[in-house]
């Protein structure tokens, strides 16, 4: 393949010129349809009322940086992986640790829950030259040696940076530092499709949310975000407007757009049908890179974790910052909204995880009144029982 000769009249220069003209044409086509900005369209939308999202739970238990976390589909369990080589499954409300899996490798970069079965996916980083992605089936029996049931599924030539089960739960999509993404069959470990096109490490990927969807978006160190067709392996669309590495990409809940978080201290919002960037979320006071991002259930809020230890919450439509969450004492490595949108989980290099949710202020007074009623009631009951 590499030894194909020159075709008639084709030279490296002519191809370069052709690619330049095509790039310009692409820009022109995209700009023609850029008739208005997203925040202008959203001017008529009500400004968000003050958000009362606060950290309600702090999960301590890891001995070192927490590199990754994910929610379980039962909406209350979380799985987290840390540089101390442990993967822990937590109950987010009661703070119980349900499982703890020690692994021989310390660079467990990512983990995820399988959508249908209670499979926990763990990825091994490359200390020990293990550029593999392994799957571990979880069970309720705490005495089982879970690490022994580890099954190696994917294999890359460099570290594996991101992973995701597909909708069917039988296939695994991975992204790697070798610049490729790959689709694997979980049972046989076979490579089904590989995706080439990035010219540097691919740092993150996200699957389209629809049930029938078969596209995914990946972002990498070449500052590009590419949208791929899973069946053909083709790169459908490519977006290059970031000024530094893209650390995280996430689809909008409707599947028509996606956001990316980058080391250039901005998050950007791209629409797939308009084929261009429609919003940039940045502030002069934010100079540290964003390492992770996620949307709320309705897509109105974009949570982005930064290397300055904060989580900025952006109003997606208006392009302004809604609020800022403090609390972590080191870089925020991952933020994830729970599957039903009730809570936000964040993992950090300060070895803790935090779960935050919002209480509606309106019901505060009603709640207090009801609490008072119950107290009065219980006092009366006490009086009666004492009398008897």
């Amino acid at each position: 393949m590499a030894c194909q000769g020159l075709q008639k009249g084709e030279t490296l220069e002519s191809l370069k010129r052709e690619s330049e003209t095509l790039k310009k044409k692409l820009e022109e086509e995209r700009n023609k349809l850029n008739d208005v900005e997203l925040h202008q369209v959203a001017e008529k939308v009500e400004v968000l009322s003050a958000l009362s999202i606060k950290t309600r739970r702090v999960l301590k238990g890891h001995g070192n940086k927490v590199l990754c976390m994910d929610w379980c589909k039962d909406k209350r369990r979380m799985v987290s992986s840390s540089q101390d080589g442990k993967v822990i499954v937590w109950d987010a409300f009661t703070l119980n640790k349900e499982h703890g899996v020690p692994l021989p490798c310390t660079w467990v970069l990512a983990c995820a829950y399988a959508p249908l079965r209670s499979l926990c996916l763990i990825m091994n980083g490359y200390l020990g030259l293990d550029n593999k992605c392994s799957v571990i089936p979880l069970s309720l029996d705490k005495n089982e040696n879970l690490a022994a049931k580890k099954k190696s599924v994917a294999m890359h030539t460099n570290y594996v940076s991101g992973c995701s089960f597909t909708n069917s739960d039988m296939q695994l999509l991975t992204s790697s530092g070798d610049g490729t993404c790959a689709l694997w069959d979980v049972e046989s470990g076979q490579l089904l499709q590989s995706f080439h096109g990035h010219t540097a490490d691919v740092l993150s990927l996200d699957l389209a949310p629809s049930e029938t969807g078969n596209t995914f978006v990946s972002g990498g160190c070449d500052m590009k975000a590419n949208v791929w067709d899973m069946r053909s392996g083709q790169n459908i669309q490519s977006f290059e407007s970031h000024e530094s590495d893209i650390n995280c990409v996430k689809y909008y809940p409707s599947g028509d757009a996606f956001a990316s978080a980058s080391d250039d201290a901005t998050c950007r919002f791209y629409d797939l049908r308009a084929d261009r960037e429609v919003a940039v979320y940045q502030k002069d006071s934010i100079i540290f890179g964003a390492s992770t991002c996620d949307f709320s259930l309705s897509g109105r809020l974009l949570f982005a974790g930064y290397n300055d230890y904060t989580i900025n919450v952006w109003d997606v439509l208006k392009g302004t910052r809604a609020t800022i969450l403090f609390g972590h004492e080191n870089r925020v490595s991952r933020v994830r909204v729970s599957p039903d949108g009730t809570a936000l989980g964040s993992a950090s290099w300060d070895s803790t995880l935090r779960v935050s949710w919002s209480f509606s202020t309106g019901s505060n007074y009603i709640f207090r009144f009801i609490k008072l009623l119950f107290w009065v009631n219980s006092r009366l009951v006490l009086e009666f029982t004492v009398a008897f």
């Binding site: 590499a2 010219t199 084929d275 309705s298």
Partner: protein
């Protein structure tokens, strides 16, 4: 393949530095000259693979230019509509009743 392995181990053995920064800084940035085969060494191969790369790039650009697009105003309006439609269900936006467990199934209270 073995050579590549040694390159990676040598960059990693920088000890403390590599453990305190994201992994991407300790791996080599790979610039593919020929995507479908391992990095080649001879000059002949390099010029041919540059050519095939350029050809691939041109094909890719043609494909991207032919994508069907809609106006930003229409796309933005649809995004906004989705947001507003689902805003009521968004617990991080609206909030859960104070003091309650957000992870419990929502139950309706009946006053007896």
């Amino acid at each position: 393949m073995t050579t590549v392995f040694f390159e990676y181990t040598s960059t990693f053995n920088l000890g403390e530095w590599s453990l305190n920064s994201p992994l991407k800084y300790s791996s080599k940035r790979l610039f593919y000259e020929d995507i479908f085969s391992p990095k080649t060494i001879t000059n002949n191969m390099t010029s041919n693979s540059n050519l095939s790369n350029m050809r691939r790039l041109v094909e890719q650009l043609k494909l991207e230019a032919s994508v069907e697009r809609i106006k930003v105003s229409q796309a933005a309006a649809e995004l906004q509509q989705y947001c507003l439609q689902n805003a009521g269900k968004d617990a991080l936006l609206v909030g859960v009743p104070t003091g309650s467990n957000p992870f419990r199934e929502p139950r309706s209270c009946a006053i007896v």
